[in-house]
C-alpha cells in the first residue's frame, strides 16, 4: 500500500497534524498519510485526563482522551490514513523520509511533508539543576501519561516547579492519583499562568512559594528533598519524594534539527533565543519548500485548540501549494522579508520570514511574539535601516502571546528585514 504515490505525509498525529490532514482531504488532495510513533494518534491530549478540550473545534467540552478520539475519528472519516507505531528516523531533502516500524526500515516520499511533531517540556538536564540524580524527577508529560494511560504513580509527595498553565494541570493530575504535592515553587515574583489560576494551588491546598528558585536535588536512589532559595538568598530544604518539572516547553524539533532544515535559534545579545522550531514563512513553509510545519512545533506553546486551527490553516496552504497557487516560492523568487529580533527580552518572533509577493488573504495573519520576562514599553518593528515601520505599547509577561499584524509590517515592501525591539 505504501508503494502508491503519497501526496502529503504528516509527521505527528496530534491536534495540528490531524487537522492538517482533514483539511487536505477536504481540499481534494488524493492521498494523505499521518505517521504517528505512539500506539494511538491523538497527541498530548490523550493523557490530559481533564477538560476543557474541543470548544473551538467541536463546540463541545471534552476531556483530553475524548477529544483525542474525536480528532482521530474525524480524520479517519475524512479519508486520512493513519499509520501508528511508525517513526520517522531521517528526513531528507525533497520530502524523502526514512521510517521504521515493526515491519523494519523503509523509504517513503511525498510531494509535501508537514512536520507536526509538537512540543515537550524541558527536562532536568537541560535546565542544569545541581544535585544528585535519583529517581522521581519528571516532567508533567511523563506524569500525565503514567497516571492517565497506565494508572501508576511515580511519587506521592512531589515539589512542583513552575507555575505555567501545565503546572496547574499537573496538580489536577496528582489529585486524580492520590498524589499530594508538598509545594509549588516559582522563581519569578508572579504566577506565569493567567489569573485566576494563581489562586489554584491555595484552593488545592498546595503551598505556593513565589520568588523561589530550585537550587539542588537531594537523594540517593530516590528523591529525598530539594534545596530552594528565596529572593533574600535564604536557603532551605523541603522534604519530598519527587520533583515535577513543569513547562518550559520546547519544540520537538529533533528531525528538523538533525536534518537539513534551518532552525530558529539566533544568538541575541549573547543569549540564545528563537522558537527552537524550524524557520518558516507565513505559510508554515520551511527552508526546504517540500517541508511545512504546523502546531506547537512552530513555537512553544499554545493550546490544543490553537494548534488544531493552525494545522487546518497550514493544511489549506499546502493544498494551495500542490495546486500551484501558493505565491512566493522562495526557491523561485528568492525574495522574502526576514523577521529578526534585536532584543534578548524577546524570546522569539514567528514566522521568521514573509515570502513575497505578500497576499493578504492567505498565510498567517500575525507574527507571534513571546518574551522572556515581564516587560513594559513600546514594541517597535524597524526596517533594516532602523526606520520605525510599526509600533505599539507593550505591557506583558513571560509566556504571554503577543500578536503583530503581518499586513501592517509588509505593506509596499519588496524584501529586506523586519527587526523587533523593545524601547
Amino acid at each position: 500500500m505504501m508503494s502508491n504515490k503519497i501526496d502529503v505525509i504528516i509527521i505527528g498525529g496530534g491536534p495540528s497534524g490531524l487537522s492538517a490532514g482533514v483539511e487536505l482531504k477536504r481540499a481534494g488532495v488524493a492521498r494523505v498519510v499521518v505517521l504517528e510513533r505512539e500506539p494511538q494518534a491523538g497527541g498530548i491530549p490523550r493523557h490530559c485526563g481533564h477538560p476543557p478540550f474541543g470548544m473551538r473545534e467541536f463546540k463541545w467540552i471534552y476531556t483530553g482522551p475524548q477529544y483525542a478520539r474525536k480528532l482521530v475519528k474525524t480524520a479517519v472519516e475524512a479519508g486520512v490514513e493513519i499509520r501508528t507505531l511508525t517513526s520517522v528516523v531521517e528526513a531528507l531533502p525533497g520530502g524523502k523520509l526514512l521510517v521504521t516500524s515493526d515491519n523494519g526500515v523503509e523509504k517513503i516520499s511525498a510531494q509535501r511533508v508537514i512536520y507536526a511533531t509538537g512540543v515537550r517540556e524541558t527536562p532536568r538536564s537541560a535546565r542544569i539543576i545541581s544535585g544528585s540524580r535519583p529517581l522521581g524527577v519528571l516532567n508533567t508529560g511523563a506524569l500525565q501519561s503514567m497516571v492517565y494511560l497506565k494508572h501508576r504513580r511515580p511519587f506521592k509527595r512531589p515539589v512542583i516547579v513552575g507555575t505555567e498553565l501545565v503546572s496547574f494541570s499537573a496538580i489536577q493530575t496528582c489529585r486524580h492519583m492520590g498524589i499530594r504535592p508538598v509545594a509549588m515553587i516559582e522563581q519569578a515574583a508572579r504566577v506565569t499562568a493567567r489569573w485566576p489560576v494563581g489562586l489554584f494551588p491555595m484552593l488545592m491546598r498546595v503551598p505556593l512559594h513565589l520568588n523561589t528558585r530550585l537550587v539542588s536535588i537531594k537523594g540517593d536512589k530516590r528523591v529525598e528533598a530539594v534545596e530552594v532559595e528565596n529572593a533574600s538568598r535564604e536557603r532551605r530544604v523541603i522534604e519530598c519524594d519527587g520533583v515535577l518539572l513543569t513547562g518550559q516547553f520546547t519544540p520537538e524539533a529533533t528531525l528538523a534539527r538533525c536534518g537539513h532544515l534551518e532552525i530558529d535559534a539566533p544568538s541575541v545579545g549573547g543569549s540564545i533565543r528563537g522558537s527552537g522550531g524550524p524557520v518558516v514563512d507565513q505559510y508554515g513553509r520551511c527552508s526546504d519548500p517540500a517541508y511545512f510545519a504546523a502546531g506547537n512545533l512552530l513555537r512553544p506553546v499554545e493550546t490544543a485548540g490553537w494548534s488544531w486551527n493552525e494545522g487546518r490553516q497550514v493544511g489549506r496552504w499546502v493544498a494551495d501549494d500542490l495546486a500551484g497557487d501558493l505565491a512566493g516560492d522562495p526557491l523561485v523568487t528568492g525574495e522574502n522579508i526576514h523577521i529578526t529580533i534585536a532584543d534578548p527580552i524577546i524570546k522569539f518572533a514567528m514566522p521568521q520570514k514573509i515570502s513575497l509577493p505578500y497576499k493578504p488573504e492567505r498565510g498567517m495573519k500575525h507574527v507571534q511574539l513571546r518574551f522572556t520576562d515581564s516587560v513594559k514599553g513600546t514594541l517597535v518593528a524597524e526596517d533594516g535601516q532602523g526606520k520605525v515601520m510599526w509600533q505599539c505599547s507593550l505591557n506583558t509577561h513571560r509566556e504571554r502571546r503577543v500578536l503583530v499584524p503581518v499586513a501592517g509590517l509588509v505593506s509596499e515592501r519588496s524584501g529586506g528585514e523586519i527587526v523587533f525591539r523593545v524601547v
Partner: protein, 432 residues
Amino acid sequence: MAVVEKASDILDGASKANSAILHTGFDAPPGSVELTCIQDGYREYREIYADMGLVLEETGAFVVGWSDEEVAKLEGILAKAHGNGVDDCSLISASELLRHEPSLADHAKAAITVPGECLIDPWSAPYAYLQQALDNGAEVFVSCTVTGGEFEAGEWRIATSRGSLRTRQVINCAGLYGDVVDEDVLGVTDFHITPRKGQFVVFDKAASSLLNAVILPVPTSRTKGVVLFRTVFGNLAVGPTAEDQDSRDDASSDKAAIEMLIAAGVDKLPGLANMPVTAVYAGLRPATQFQDYQISADAARNWITVGGIRSTGLSGALGIGQYVFKLYSQSGAKHPAIADPVVPRAKVLAQSGPRDWKSAGYGEIVCHCELVTAREINKALSGPLAARSLQGLKRQTRVTMGRCQGFFCSARLAEITTGHFDEPLSEGDDDE
C-alpha cells in the same frame, strides 16, 4: 570463577561515567604500568572487537594548543608520544587543524595529531567481556557486598551480604572502594583513594556534526583537562572536570561546573552556542596518592589488588586483564586455555551499527529519542545480567538517555519494567 558486585547492576561505580575513548597511551607516563595496560588493551580491543560485534570509530584526536604557553608544551608531548611508541603523531599548524575541523574556533594555535585515538562504547564492551566469562562458565553475583574474609590453608572464605564464598584466589577490582576492601579483608592497604569527580555535559545530537576527531587539551600534572568528543551514540560531549572529594558515592553535578564546561565548549567550538543540552552526568575516578595504577599481588595470601585505575580504565581494561593474569600465573597457578571459547556478540547501541530498530519484528519503539525497541528492553531485563535498575537498563539499552530524558517514554517504561527493578519507576494501586 565468580564476579561479585555490590550494586544491582555492573558498571555502577567508577565505570559508569567516562569519555568513551580508546586511548593509544601517547601521553601516559613512560615506563608505567598504566602505559603497558593501555597499549596492550588497545591492541587486544582491536583484535577482538569485530568478532564480538563491538564498535570502533577511528576518529583520531588532536591535542590542541590554545595559547602560546600550551603551544610551547606541544613539542614535549610529541616527544613523549614517540617515546611511548605512538609514532604516527605529528605537529600540525592551526590552518591544517582547521582544514580537518572547520567548526573549531579560530584561536587554536597549533596541534598534535594522534590518529590512533578511537571512540568506543563504554558499556557494551565491558558487558560483552563479562558475558563472555559467563558463557564460558563464570558466575556473577550482584547486590553482593564484600564485608570481610579469612584466609586459611590456601583458601579464602569471603563474607558477603549474600553469604560466604569459598575461593582459592581473590582479585580485588573494587574501584572506588579498592583500598577499603583491602583494608577490610587484608587488614592493610598500600594506597588511599581520594575520589576525583568528573562532570560531563552532553549536547544535542545535532552538535555531533560540528566535530570529526576528539579534541584533547594540553594536560596539566593533575588532569588530562577538558575534552571535546563525539560519542558512538551520536552525541557530542564536553568534560570532565577534576574535583577531589572525600565521598565515594556522591556523583552529584553542579550548575556552576556544568556552565563552566558549556562555556569551555563554546569557546573552542562556537557552534555549540545554540545547541541544547541533552544530558549532564558525573563520575568518580579512583585517584590515589600515586600517579600510576596500583596493581599488586600478595602471593602468600592468593590476593591480587587492582587499584587506582584513575581515568584510563576503559582503554586499559583488557591490558589490565593480561597484566593480572601474568601476576596470577607467576604465583604458580596453571590453567589450560579454554579449548573452544564462546565468543558472544555485544549489544549494538552505536548509532552507525545494526541497531535493533533497523530489523523487523521489534514490536514497538519505546524510547523515541534513542530509538530503543521493546525487544531490546525485554532482552536487557532477562538473563544473568538482567538490568535491576533504571541506571543499568540505560547502560544496556540507552533508554531515556536522549534529549527528552523520559518525557515521552517514562510511562511505557514504568509499565514494562514493573517487577524488574529494586527501586521501581512507579507504583500502581494493584502492586503488592
